[in-house]
């Protein structure tokens, strides 16, 4: 079952912050986050494993609440290059494959 992402779309000005949420109805083993620009392949941002710590690099970080089966991606002081569609990919305990959320379209304006 596909995880639910919110919001579906968000428009920001450069320097503003955004939070993208990913929620699953199933117990999760891991959550992946990817960004895809138009016409390009998805690019890996980070992976959060069950029992792991909050991840982050530069101004993008993420958290994983195993009990609530939720993950959030935090983008601070957004840059124009952050524009794109963000997907969470979830993996349950026994699954080999990732199941991707519906996506969040992020637009950063000058």
């Amino acid at each position: 079952q596909q995880p639910v992402q919110s919001p579906q779309a968000v428009i920001l000005r450069e320097g503003e912050d955004a939070v993208i949420n990913c929620s699953s109805s199933k117990a999760l083993y891991s959550v992946h986050w990817y960004r895809q620009k138009h016409g390009e392949a998805p690019v890996f941002l980070m992976i959060l494993l069950k029992g792991g710590e909050q991840k982050g690099h530069d101004k993008i970080s993420a958290s994983f609440n195993e009990k609530k089966q939720q993950s959030s991606l935090y983008l601070t002081a957004s840059q124009l290059s952050y524009s794109g569609t963000y997907f969470c990919g979830t993996r349950t305990g026994s699954a080999r494959q990732l199941t991707f959320g519906s996506g969040t379209q992020l637009t950063v304006l000058p």
Partner: protein
């Protein structure tokens, strides 16, 4: 990191014909997957390509329509058979070393069926 070469990058095909998409990885990888992505939509898993055995298909996808081969740990093909306009989409291959590592994607094949 894995580098994936996916061919062709795009094609326009007549309905009723078949197209084979190739995915070549620069290193041996354990897990290889094929996805379909409609414009503006999410990635939908078609199947897991298993080396040396039949692929594992997701609900709604069948081997007769999407036959997959994976002769070794660096190469796989996906064939879209007896195409109809509804098959127009972007097809992506993806690889992962383990369940705990990132997924790498090919650049995708943009298929248009007329």
């Amino acid at each position: 990191s894995a580098v994936i070469s996916q061919k062709p990058s795009r094609d326009i095909c007549q309905r009723g014909t078949s197209l084979t998409i190739q995915c070549q990885v620069d290193s041996q990888v354990t897990m290889m997957f094929w996805y379909r992505q409609q414009p503006g939509q999410s990635l939908t898993l078609i199947a897991t390509a298993n080396q040396g055995s039949e692929a594992t298909y997701e609900s709604g996808f069948v081997i007769d329509k999407f036959p997959i081969s994976r002769p070794n740990l660096t190469f796989s093909t996906l064939t879209v058979s007896n195409m109809s306009p509804e098959d127009s989409s972007i097809y992506l291959c993806s690889v992962e070393e383990t369940r705990n590592t990132e997924a790498f994607f090919g650049q995708g094949t943009r298929l248009t069926v007329v």
